[in-house]
């Protein structure tokens, strides 16, 4: 019994720390979202009125949709690029450290500096990107002022900054793989693509899951880049939920309403965080069955001297 009590006593400090820093603010935010509180924190209980209002708030809906698009489009693109880079860099025996460092540089730059760099890069008159395009095609592209291109530009910048994060996790995953399955596959005459698709990629499953999950959660919180590069414009085509919530809650002083926005975002992130591993598990299981069936067919074909059973 004594051991049991001591166990709880030892666990208590980090638990209290977690409660103080995570759960209490969360509950406070939830509470605030049900009030019309202003910056002073004073407000009246208004039930779900803030949430009802959100569904007809054009700016919020636009920002919410943008945020989903940033995550749904950006994260897979970053994953694929990160994977390609990880596999590419892993092939090198020499200079791997240098390459890894170069790939990781964007991740080390502060987001506001990233915003400044890219805002300059994409300036249609002064930036090097358009300067090059003008020389090649004679056309200047309004990267940050056209509605569609501004959104794409934010995605490009986000991808530039966060692909190294995917790379980092996937590269670590590749580096920690055992060599035997690869050697066996090459001995059996498997092509490089086969080896990647049937060995590397499945074995990267846990690392991929972690990378996409962590990056996905982070992607929903996009703020700095949008704030600096476009301020959410033109209009509200690039604005994000965090940006809208910040301006609504802390700049305009509509704290309760802003809190409701963050709660909706939180629920979305929780839904993503819960459903994504589940979906991956389902897909993996399905793929595993297919893979097993294929293996069985191969085994059967081998057993009968190449004659299909």
């Amino acid at each position: 019994m004594k051991v049991s009590s001591a166990k709880y006593f030892l666990v208590a400090p980090p638990l209290l720390f977690f409660l103080a820093l995570s759960l209490i603010p969360l509950l406070l935010t939830l509470g605030l979202s049900l009030t019309d509180a202003d910056l002073s924190g004073a407000g009246n209980w208004i039930g779900l009125s803030n949430y009802k209002a959100l569904w007809s708030d054009r700016i919020f809906l636009r920002s919410y949709l943008n945020t989903l698009e940033y995550a749904v489009i950006g994260v897979p693109v970053q994953y694929v690029l990160g994977l390609v880079l990880a596999v590419f860099v892993a092939q090198f025996q020499h200079g791997r450290r240098l390459l890894r460092l170069i790939v990781l540089i964007p991740l080390m730059v502060a987001p506001l500096v990233v915003g400044f760099i890219w805002k300059t890069m994409l300036d249609s008159r002064l930036g090097p990107v358009d300067d090059l395009l003008r020389h090649l095609t004679g056309i200047a592209v309004p990267w940050l002022t056209d509605e569609t291109l501004a959104f794409v530009s934010i995605l490009v910048v986000d991808t530039w900054q966060w692909t190294p994060f995917m790379f980092l996790i996937l590269f670590a995953g590749i580096a920690s793989m055992p060599r035997e399955p690869f050697e066996a596959a090459y001995v059996d005459g498997a092509s490089r693509w086969r080896v990647f698709w049937d060995i590397t990629f499945p074995m990267l499953g846990p690392a991929s899951l972690a990378a996409v999950l962590l990056r996905g959660i982070e992607a929903f919180k996009i703020f700095d880049i949008v704030y600096y590069i476009t301020g959410g414009g033109p209009g509200s085509v690039t604005t994000s939920t965090t940006l809208t919530a910040y301006f609504t809650g802390l700049r305009s002083g509509h704290v309760g309403y802003g809190a409701a926005m963050t709660v909706i975002l939180l629920l979305t992130v929780i839904a993503f965080g819960s459903l994504f591993p589940f979906a991956v598990k389902l897909i993996t299981r399905q793929r595993g069955k297919t893979f097993a069936r294929a293996v069985n067919r191969n085994i059967a074909a081998t057993n009968f001297g190449g004659v299909r059973a």
């Binding site: 200047a140 509605e147 700049r251 002083g253």
Partner: protein, 505 residues
């Protein structure tokens, strides 16, 4: 109203019904303090061992910090400057005030917030201290007016803000350009006095190398980035269409009913103009905030621009500016018809109707109610606003302090010798003075939750700028939300504040 507003009234007005014993005692104490301050010898006060904590918005901090060492050396006191990011200033001040905890002694902030902070009792009335101030009379009347809340002064002015126009003299004054412009538009090229002229000039100078820089120039540069200074620039245009000089207080609301005016045809016309002018600026104008507008304008290639007095100061820095000595200035143009909210029709005038806008209203310093060293706080505020120090501040680049005293305008030669080394400062100073002294000068919105009103206006004007909504629809949506904010804040109290702003009874 909170007690301290009542107890600082002159003694003769204290004996009114409802004055409590506590407030009477507080009032006596305040008056005693005031007289003590007033009778203090002219020599520097001794504040040894006292620390004055000054909270200030980020890019204004150098306008304060430049006097820190001198004040400390003269008084023995200590100044601790808390620099708050500009965008977070209101929130930080508000939360600090409402928490009741003492976080700073002096707050340096936008004049728009004075009524809100004063009414809530977060800052103290400075009436007891003002008798000892020897340069009050030299503050421009339009700046003096801003400092009051309910008949009392709550701030020390540190800055004078008004939005006006800039033009490149090498563009507009060149004989060849004048001739070509005359041929094309049928009237003489000069600083614009109407918005049509402003548009024509912007159009004329767009797309060709008029500056000799080797690349095509643009007609105009204005800050239009979302969540930046865009609303101020837009209102400076809208004021000319909606602030009817014959109807006081007609810019933002109907002062009788507090019905928003921001969707009336005057505002709609201003928004249409603002959308159209984008054609004559660089595509990135949509992403340029105030800082970017200033940096780019002084780097060259823009014939016209709208900003506060900052562009003029920045243009003198030859390290970043290519336009020193090439700047002209003008009070913003006006239309010949202005919306009349009473008749609900356009009212025609024989001359262009200007309405210079005191957007932001300038930086002001106040003493927090929680200050334990109000005397030292006052002394420091008075020090940085003393006649010589104020002049040094407004003539030093990077201080974010613009001219606001009569003497700042009376000696242009001093500007050429000051740190800014202004080239030909007279037209610059004359324009600012003309704007600030204009009979139809418009104060910024100084009612409760002005930040929210601005936020809403910014959101919907951006929708119109992006083409997602028509100007009419966008401003109608903004007006709906303004109505809701007013209702939430209290129509009666907002109405009172709004009417006070225009001196309406």
């Amino acid at each position: 109203m909170v007690d301290h507003n009542i107890n600082l009234l002159p003694a003769g007005r204290q004996a009114s019904a409802g004055t409590t014993r506590r407030s009477l005692l507080q009032g006596m104490a305040s008056l005693a303090l005031g007289s003590a301050v007033a009778t203090r010898p002219a020599m520097a006060a001794d504040f040894k061992g006292k620390t004055v904590v000054v909270a200030v918005g980020s890019f204004m901090s150098s306008g304060i910090a430049m006097f820190k060492n001198k004040w400390e050396a003269e008084t023995g006191g200590r100044i601790e400057i808390v620099e708050i990011p500009f965008g977070d200033l209101y929130q930080r001040l508000f939360t600090a005030f409402t928490s009741g905890a003492h976080q700073f002694d002096v707050a340096v902030y936008a004049s728009n917030w004075i009524p809100e902070f004063a009414q809530a009792g977060h800052i103290v009335s400075l009436e007891p201290y003002y008798p000892q101030k020897d340069n009050w009379n030299s503050v421009l009347p339009s700046v003096q007016r801003i400092m009051y809340s309910q008949g009392q002064r709550y701030t020390v002015p540190l800055d004078g803000d008004v939005i006006f126009g800039y033009y490149r003299t090498d563009a507009l004054d060149k004989p060849d350009h004048k001739k070509r412009f005359q041929d094309k538009y049928g009237y003489a090229l000069a600083a614009p006095t109407t918005w049509e002229q402003y548009r024509d000039i912007a159009q004329f100078f767009t797309g060709w190398d008029w500056s000799g820089s080797g690349k095509p120039g643009f007609g105009v540069l204005e800050a239009q980035k979302p969540k930046d200074v865009g609303p101020y620039i837009f209102i400076s245009r809208a004021a000319t269409y909606a602030a009817n000089a014959t109807l006081k207080g007609s810019l933002f609301f109907d002062p009788d009913t507090m019905e928003p005016q921001i969707n009336n045809p005057g505002w709609v016309q201003a928004l249409k103009d603002w959308i159209e002018i984008r054609k004559f600026g660089p595509p990135e104008m949509a992403t340029y905030g105030g800082g970017e507008m200033r940096g780019n304008f002084v780097a060259g290639d823009y014939a016209l621009g709208i900003d506060w007095a900052d562009v003029g100061i920045m243009a003198q820095d030859e390290n970043s500016s290519t336009i020193k000595g090439k700047l002209g200035y003008f009070v913003l143009p006006g239309p010949s018809k202005v919306w009349n909210y009473r008749t609900k029709d356009w009212q025609a005038f024989s001359t262009p109707q200007q309405a210079p806008f005191q957007g932001w209203g300038g930086w002001h310093g106040s003493i927090a109610k929680t200050s334990k060293v109000p005397e030292a706080a006052w002394d420091f505020l008075n020090f940085i606003d003393s006649t010589p120090n104020a002049f040094t501040a407004v003539t030093t680049p990077g201080t974010a302090r613009n001219p606001y005293r009569v003497d700042h305008f009376s000696n242009p030669d001093a500007w050429t010798k000051a740190p800014v080394k202004y080239a030909d400062p007279k037209p610059y100073l004359d324009t600012i003075k003309a704007a600030l002294s204009h009979p139809n000068v418009q104060s910024d919105l100084r009612i409760l939750q002005s930040g929210r009103y601005y936020e809403v206006l910014d959101q919907w004007t951006q929708e119109a700028l992006a083409g997602s909504l028509s100007p009419e629809a966008a401003l109608a949506k903004a007006a709906d939300q303004w109505r809701a904010i007013t209702k939430e804040a209290g129509v009666a109290s907002q109405r009172k504040l709004y009417r006070d702003l225009y001196g309406l009874t």
